[in-house]
Amino acid sequence: MVGMSKGSAAEDAVSELYRSCYARLVGVVALAAQSRVDGEECVQEAFLKLLGRWDHVSRLESPEIWVRTVAFRLLSNRRRKARNAVRALLRHGPAPAEPEPSADRVDVAHALRRLSLGQRQVVVMHHLLGLGVEEIAGALQIAPGTVKSRLSRGRAVLAELLPQEASHA
């Protein structure tokens, strides 16, 4: 059966890629999400999507980047849906209090929580993954100007928080 062997070969290839870069991808996406659970779910879903598009993605320079991009988009989508649901819920009650970042230790994750998801995404993609503005704009399907403004605001917030926290370390 040609179809079965083809499908099986794709599953083997995706499985190999999954073994080699799953943890790394989850770390990056979870950092942007500020949630390991969200990071794992988005990356897993991205790998499952990859299985159905392996014919196309296998010809790209880096299938790992494709998975990462899809996972970031999935994160945006699920946060948008969750945000809408929460907004609907909050119409009937007070907004939950956001916990202040801990000043006891250097914790960039806490500092990142002061940013919006969109700002965290561009900060992580730019400062951790080394992507340029155009690349981020293409990956997140937003305007380059939006990337620049999010980066600027994100860096401004982090600049206020991180030196202070670093001094506590």
Partner: protein, 165 residues
């Protein structure tokens, strides 16, 4: 400000999971979810179809009676045909002959009247004009004072009077 890239790399490493599920497990779980969705959708379609049917269902056409005249159960009617009048002080006297029940559609039922004037006739329920012909008389000259309404139970005491001058 510390090097942001280093801080982010360190934080991302902390977010990395210690264990990861086998890819095959993910695929199987995904297929099970898809199967459940398909089954759920199919069940929903069935439920919707049944609901729609329940809303729009109408009883089938009422079975029609066979065309033509439907035989009805005859009801027994009894009474008496009497001669009234004649010489001063004469009492009503039963007379023999025939009685005739005629409904609005022109259907008639005729019965014999005994010599003592009593008769028994079986007619379907309905409204009848009742007339009588005394034995030996050439034409009907006897009748009930009012139309007789026969219901679905036995009816007694019908009086058909023949007035004699």
């Amino acid at each position: 400000m510390p090097d942001l890239g280093d801080l982010l790399a360190s934080a991302a490493t902390e977010f990395q999971p210690v264990r990861q599920p086998e890819f095959g497990q993910l695929v199987r779980a995904s297929r099970r979810r898809r199967q459940r969705r398909v089954t759920g959708s199919a069940a929903a379609v069935v439920v919707l179809a049944l609901s729609a049917n329940a809303v729009t269902w109408r009883p089938g056409p009422v079975p029609q009676e066979p065309s033509g005249r439907v035989p009805q159960v005859a009801v027994e009617v009894t009474g008496s045909m009497r001669r009234i009048g004649g010489p001063m002080g004469a009492a009503p006297l039963g007379v023999g002959g025939t009685v005739r029940f005629e409904d609005a559609g022109g259907t008639t039922v005729t019965a014999e009247v005994a010599a003592d004037g009593r008769f028994t006739v079986a007619v379907p329920a309905g409204r009848y004009v009742v007339t009588g012909t005394p034995a030996g008389a050439g034409q009907a000259s006897c009748r009930a004072t009012a139309p007789v309404v026969v219901a679905d139970t036995r009816l007694d005491g019908i009086e058909v009077d023949c007035h004699v001058r």
